[in-house]
Every structure is written in structure tokens, then in C-alpha cells.
């Protein structure tokens, strides 16, 4: 069985030799404010902005170059006259050259944080996304807790009881969980446990999402199945990663030193082993959570949850460029931010990393 060993991306130590020795006694705040760290963060933020520009330009280009339905035609509906379609095209600005449209879009975005209006129903995209973010956060954060609380302990136990029946069983199950597509797993979960069509009517089914502010109980019930389905593959992947990392770490020389000190095996594993094995996991967890904040498209679609992911899916169906653009930008923003946060965090988790 192959071991999943993730090597966390480690930024190159561009800090000077002298800062290496000086940085050690500095406190958390001190290090954050240290000039090399600050310069690094500023550089990364600038790069992030450039990335967002590139992403938005690419989305524009892809939308116009790849064949898609004509938004004006969709908007006009069946049997509309060509004149009517042309009129709509003009109001939406679709008759202008692509670069002109892009320029206008970016100008409004930068000056007014205006993401434009949906071609489909004239609703402000920014408002649409903002109203859906809490929903997506609910889905992502809940799933995150489940996959961390399941994945890490399972990985640790499998690593300690390596090659045991339990290890083989959990790793087999995890392989299945990684391989199972979310939409399939989602349907199975609905058929088994949802209140409407399930064999065991336990939790809210598809489309049962209720905001937390309205009814916390219903909110929870409606999210249990999506959480579990979304967490399944992540938990499985994390279990395998933690197992692989821990097995590798436990063969390190410093683990032998810890044992030679006369520490109990429990302390050797949980203090010395896990400390090293979980550091790269923190990186992965941050990135994965950031990615999900942009919308869990499949899960939200299967369970009909009104989050950013389903909005993105619907926008693509509707050829609704401003909405697509908005969701893509938000997704990219979360991924870029998560990357930056994780890289900065890594410097505190691993003292060898310097910026």
C-alpha cells in the first residue's frame, strides 16, 4: 500500500544570515513585524493582486473564446426578434470589444468594488455572493471540523498500529472514500438518511437548508449530510497523509533520541512524533479550507444548498458572465489568501523557515 507523504511547500529562506540568529528570540509579534517578514508579506500581497488580475482576464477570455450560449439570446427568451436581442446586447454592453468590456468591468471593480449585475436577472453580483457566503462558510467549516477530527486520529492510530488489521481496514475504507465521487456519495446519503426520501429519516434532505438565524436546529439537521459527504474524501486523504507522515517521522534520528531519554512511548509519539508529522498537515488544511470558501460546487449542487458553489454552477448554466466572474474572483481570492496565511503560519510552526 502506498503511503501518501505530503511535503509541504516550503518557501525559500531569503532572509539574510544575520537575521537567522536574531530572529529566534523574537516574539510572535516581533517576528511578524520583523522587516524581512513584512517585506515578504507585502511582496506576496502584491503578487496576489496580480494573480487576481490574471484570473479575471482569463475568465473573460475563456468566456468569449470558448463556445457558450449567447447571454443576450438567453435573456430575450424564445421567439425574440433580432432587434430585441440587439437591444439587450447593447444594454449589457456586449456589443463592445472584449478588451473594452474588461476595462469597464475592472474599473468598476477597483473603484467601487462593483462586480456588475447578472445578465440573467439584473441582481447585483456582489450582493448575491455576499448573501450566499455565510451558507458556504457553514458548509465548509462544518466539514472541516469533521475531517480534521476524523482524519487525524485515524491516521495516528493507523500509523501506530501499522500493518495491523485495523490499519488495513481503515486504509482500505479511506481509499474507497477518496475514490467515491461526491455526487454519488451525496445521493447515497440522501437515499439512506434524508427525511424526505431516506430509508432512515434522520436528517434534512436536499433543499432543506435553513439559515442559522432562523432555526439553529433545522440548520444543523440540514447540514449534517452535506458535511459528512464533503468531509469523507478529505478525512480519508488526511488520514493517509497523517499516517504516512507519522510513520516517516517515527524513523527519524530525533525519535530515537527521545526514546533514549527514557520517555514513555506515548510521549514519544504524541509530543515528538506528532509535532513534526502534523506541521505539513496544517498547511494542507489551510489551503483546503480556503479552497472550499470559494464554494463547494458539487456538494452544494447535490444537496441544493444556496451557497456560492451552487450559484457558480447556475451562472455557468445561464452563461451569466458577471456572476461567473464574481464567483471565480472570490474563489481565487480565498485560495490566494489561504496560501499567504498558511505560509506565514508555517514560519511559526517550523523555526527553520525564514522569509
Amino acid at each position: 500500500m502506498s503511503e501518501v507523504v505530503e511535503n509541504a511547500p516550503r518557501p525559500d529562506g531569503s532572509g539574510g544570515g544575520s537575521s537567522r540568529l536574531l530572529a529566534a528570540p523574537l516574539t510572535f509579534v516581533g517576528r511578524l513585524a520583523s522587516s524581512s517578514m513584512l517585506r515578504y508579506v507585502v511582496r506576496r500581497v502584491l503578487w496576489g493582486i496580480l494573480m487576481l488580475l490574471i484570473v479575471s482576464a482569463l475568465t473573460f477570455v475563456v468566456f468569449y473564446v470558448l463556445p457558450s450560449a449567447d447571454p443576450a439570446q438567453l435573456r430575450a427568451g424564445k421567439g425574440a426578434t433580432p432587434a430585441r436581442i440587439a437591444e439587450i446586447r447593447h444594454t449589457l454592453g456586449l456589443d463592445r470589444p472584449v478588451y473594452d468590456q474588461y476595462w469597464l468591468y475592472m474599473k468598476r471593480l477597483v473603484l467601487h468594488f462593483d462586480l456588475g449585475y447578472s445578465y440573467h436577472n439584473e441582481v447585483s453580483v456582489r450582493q448575491e455572493i455576499f448573501s450566499r457566503l455565510p451558507v458556504t462558510f457553514s458548509v465548509a467549516i462544518g466539514a472541516f471540523f469533521i475531517w480534521i477530527l476524523v482524519g487525524i486520529p485515524v491516521g495516528v492510530i493507523s500509523a501506530i498500529k501499522r500493518r495491523s488489521l485495523l490499519d488495513r481496514f481503515t486504509m482500505g475504507v479511506s481509499l474507497a472514500a477518496i475514490s467515491a465521487p461526491v455526487y454519488w456519495l451525496g445521493l447515497i446519503a440522501l437515499f439512506l438518511f434524508s427525511k424526505d426520501i431516506g430509508m432512515f429519516k434522520l436528517f434534512g434532505g436536499s433543499g432543506s437548508y435553513t439559515p442559522f438565524s432562523q432555526d439553529p436546529g433545522a440548520w444543523f439537521s440540514s447540514l449534517v449530510l452535506p458535511w459528512c459527504v464533503l468531509a469523507a474524501a478529505f478525512a480519508a486523504f488526511y488520514a493517509r497523509m497523517v499516517r504516512g507522515n507519522l510513520i516517516e517521522v517515527m524513523s527519524e534520528d530525533y525519535i530515537r533520541t527521545a526514546r533514549a531519554k527514557g520517555l514513555s512511548e506515548r510521549r514519544v509519539v504524541f509530543r515528538h512524533g506528532l509535532r513534526a508529522a502534523l506541521t505539513p498537515v496544517v498547511t494542507m488544511a489551510g489551503l483546503d479550507l480556503g479552497g472550499l470558501f470559494g464554494g463547494a460546487v458539487l456538494t452544494e449542487t447535490v444537496f441544493n444548498i444556496p451557497g456560492v458553489g451552487r450559484f457558480a454552477y447556475q451562472s455557468i448554466i445561464d452563461s451569466d458572465l458577471p456572476s461567473i466572474q464574481g464567483t471565480v474572483l472570490f474563489g481565487a481570492f480565498f485560495i490566494i489568501s489561504a496560501n499567504l496565511i498558511v505560509d506565514v503560519l508555517y514560519a511559526f510552526l517550523d523555526p527553520r523557515v525564514r522569509y
Binding site: 534520528d253 530525533y254 526514546r259 527514557g262 520517555l263 506541521t279 523555526p351
Partner: protein, 337 residues
Amino acid sequence: MSSLLEIHDLHVHFRTRDGVVRAVEGAELAVDRERTLGIVGESGSGKSVTALTVMGLTRFPNATISGEIMFDGTDLVKLPDNQMQSVRGKRIAMIFQDPLSSLHPLFKIGWQIVEAIRNHEKVSKKVARARTIEALREVGISSPEKRVDSYPHELSGGMRQRAMIAMALALKPDVLIADEPTTALDVTVQAQILDLIRRLKDDYQTAIVMITHDLGVIAELADEVAVMYAGRVMERTSRQKLFTVPELPYTWGLMRSIPRLDAPRPGRLNSIAGMPPSLIHLPSGCPFHPRCPYVMDVCLKIEPQLEQSEAGHMVACHLKPEERRRLGRELISQRSS
């Protein structure tokens, strides 16, 4: 009279997929307080496995350990794991070859030493930290009050090994096992570390087991020497005897392999022909016979036992003792001329 640490007929075997690895076969060793036992041999000769077995660190599910490791009246081979834990680190400490990989990279060195102290003694963090600083000072680390909060990667190789030694000695162990402690260090630093170990041995009345492949380290530090080959102790004597009348063809090979600065440069460096044997498929008879220039018929059939040659000199070899001494003396006079 029994020594502080005595190893009798120690066998350590590991079952692997390729067969049983006979890492240690009938090792006989002993060391006393304020004495240094040097164990010398090539890679895979069983020296490290012997040391780790004394520490109880080879008790893997696939390992079979038999024989006796008598330490201060207790047989460590039979000691249960939980009692072994209180011996390990506290009464017998060990330092390793590469101090960078042997220290945890994510913990401060002070934290790592404090942990060792508090693991064995009920003292407050403050007391343990003060003792840690004292131990760091003792091993020659300058401004230990600052270094105690350094991470291993912030120290030089020599400083790291000093920190390792401080960790090992913070609990004033009876025995310190040093497994090639200078191999990964610069030559100039090597001498400092050896000096340090010697000084600490005298200050703390510690027994030292020095594992090395370097006869120079043996000459520098050891009182007693054991030459190991293929998991067996093949020659055991005092340092003085080893460097005047070595009696084992393998030891001669090791000595010839030391390059000389004062003689004309040979066409190629001397080495012992062949490779160390596989510990799964050992040669018949004497394990050294395929590489031995003095091999006789008997060497292929019967394994020589470690036997007294002269007072205080044990050798496992089929060559006649007079012959061995003559050849040994010749080699030494050649090399010192």
C-alpha cells in the same frame, strides 16, 4: 570481580523478509567506571546494534535478543520495558552520530534537555532550566543563558554535539554510550569533542562506551578495545596492547587502511579486500575468511572462538599465537618506521 556493565554471549537477530539478520552473535564486552571501552569495526559489524540493545532500543517485534547484559547487578535483557525506561537516559545515556538529525528540529535545545531531566526527576521547570543552563556551560557552550533558547539549526555542528552531550550528562548517568560522536564533525571539532568526553568521564566518574570505525579515536580515548566483525567480538585487549601487538588479521587490515602522511604515497590507498559479509548469509567457519590474506583450510570449516592469547588479550583466530604476535609486531614496526 564484575564490572559495572558486562555483556555476555549477546545475540541479537532480526527476522526480515529476506531472512534472519544476525546482527550480533555472542558478543562479550565489559566496561567499568572511569574507564573507556572502545568498540571498533566497519559498518554493519554490530557495534551500534549492541549499543542500542543495551539501551533497550532494539526491542522490535521482529527482534530476538538473548544473552546477558549485566548492569550494576541487573540483567537488562530481562528487564521489563517500564523499568528499562527509568534506566534509559537516567543511568545509561547515549549520544549519536549526527547531532543535527538527532535533535528534534522543532524544539529548543533547552526544552529538550529540560524534558530529559523532568522525565526522571521531580523538579520544577525553573530548577530543571537552571540545571540545563549549567549543563550547557559544563560542555563548553558559551553564553548558555541565550543558547538554551536556540533551535538546533541555529547552532554549529560542534555546538549541537555539545548540546547532545549536555542532554546525556544532565542526569549524571553511570554509563555514556557514544555512537560515532565525531564522525559528522570537522576534524578540529572532533578533537574538542573527544577532549570534552574525556574530561567529563573524569569529572563524573562515568563509564564510556565509544563506538567508532576510526582507530585514531581509539588511540586517543580508549582504555579497553573490542574489535567487532560480522556481529562478533574478534579481538579484545587494552589500547596499549592493540597498538603494539595487534593479533587479528582484520585489525591489521584496519591499521593498514590508515593513510600515512610521512611515507611515499602508494599507487592506491590500502584497504581490506572484499566487502563486509551479509549478516543474513554469513560465510562458513571464520566470517572473515573470504577477505583474510592468511586464510587456512580450517578457517573455512570451523569458526574460531574468542580465546585468551596472552594475559588481557583475547583473540578469535586460527593462526598460531606466536605467528600472530610476530606478524602484529612486524606491522607496527613497519608503520612506525
